[in-house]
């Protein structure tokens, strides 16, 4: 496809997703409180979008990933949260997530 064809096919869809990201950041800001590691990782990942490199998707995913190489001592909760908490820290399970039933994808 030519760049023009890519824009014709995907621009409106990408524009909608861009506005969604902007609205998400506005929503988080209006909510007050402090950024946790997820929002910090999200903001850092946004930097890759402005890069001229051709592998932005890979860089965003890698930037949100656990960079360590050794297996953890235990699994902790069953659910991933989308960003690496740093060191060996895991998000403690919320009261709703305690017990055996976990609403997470298989």
């Amino acid at each position: 496809m030519t760049r023009q064809e890519v824009l014709d096919l995907y621009f409106v869809e990408a524009r909608a997703k861009l506005v969604d990201v902007a609205a998400f950041l506005d929503r988080a800001q209006r909510a007050g409180g402090v950024d946790d590691f997820r929002l910090k990782a999200f903001r850092a990942a946004l930097g890759h979008l402005r890069s001229g490199q051709p592998d932005r998707a890979r860089r965003v995913l890698a930037g949100l990933s656990d960079p360590t190489t050794q297996p953890s001592k235990s699994a902790g909760s069953k659910s991933a949260c989308g960003a690496w908490a740093g060191k060996a820290t895991r998000i403690p399970p919320s009261p709703k997530r305690r017990g055996t039933r976990q609403e997470t994808k298989a």
Partner: protein, 269 residues
């Protein structure tokens, strides 16, 4: 068009989904063993599940003209319980000769823990001893990159395993090369929220080629779309890919991988 759904958890779906798949051109569904959404309490619970996958579900699929195939394993989400894992792995060989069983899967990692890795290696060993194909689940979100590296290293260290008989599933842009460069097959899972969209999947196909690649819906009890694979065909066609290319990716490729099991037969064969 015709396609094969190589990864779908049909026990979680309704008969309407079977009807939709058959109507859209699906020629076979393949169902890996997975987590039920809660931890099972005993090995007998798994025995019942394996019976469901090898007896009941094929009959349900047959009502819609669909051959149903299964993969068996102990899911990584339950692998912190090493005693239960051992009991379940011990009963899997009883089921491997059943006519719709293709191999061991979906084994893998969830949170990349030591016990998960230990259970994963036990099941790779089982597959090697019983000469079974392997279907690998890679972890979610921030755990995927590290988990994929651990998985690839673990399988490569077992010289009995031919990488051409292993598919590393749920790859994304940061893990697809790890699978393909090591000689494995790679599966892309099409989900509305996590994993991968059809557009990104076709991007990866255009970048890396369609050799040793399949697409699947991995539809289950969560947010997922049973018709994600034929919808990806529409994505290919609107970019100008030929009908032959669509057929190769969505039918020929899964047929090539799954056909390594002599049990994998389509209805018209």
């Amino acid at each position: 068009m015709r396609f094969i759904e190589p990864h779908a958890h049909m026990v979680s779906r309704t008969t309407d989904d079977y009807l939709a798949l058959a109507t859209a051109g699906c020629e076979a569904v393949c169902e890996p063993a997975f987590w039920a959404g809660f931890d099972r309490g005993s090995a007998e619970g798994f025995r019942d599940y394996f019976c469901q996958l090898t007896e009941h579900e094929p009959r349900r699929a047959a009502k819609f003209g669909l051959p149903h195939f299964a993969w068996l394993c102990f899911n990584p989400k339950e692998s912190e319980d090493l005693k239960l894992a051992g009991e379940v792995i011990a009963l899997i060989p009883e089921f491997l000769d059943r006519p719709n069983v293709l191999g061991i899967g979906e084994i893998g990692l969830n949170r990349n823990s030591r016990n998960e890795l230990k259970v994963f290696e036990q099941q790779v060993d089982l597959a090697a001893r019983c000469r079974q194909l392997i279907l690998v689940h890679t972890p979610h979100l921030e755990d995927k990159l590290k988990g994929t590296r651990l998985i690839v290293d673990a399988i490569k260290s077992d010289r009995r395993i031919n990488p051409a008989r292993v598919i590393i599933d749920h790859v994304e842009e940061h893990t697809i090369e790890l699978a393909l460069d090591a000689g494995f097959w790679a599966g892309i899972t099409l989900y509305p929220e996590s994993k991968c969209t059809a557009a990104r999947a076709i991007d990866m196909m255009e970048i890396y080629g369609m050799e040793r690649l399949w697409l699947n819906s991995a539809c289950d009890w969560g947010v997922s779309v049973p018709l994600a694979v034929p919808r990806a065909a529409l994505e290919m066609r609107r970019r100008g890919h030929s009908a032959a290319a669509v057929d190769r990716l969505l039918h020929g490729n899964p047929l090539q991988f799954l056909g390594q099991s002599l049990k994998f037969k389509l209805t018209q064969d």
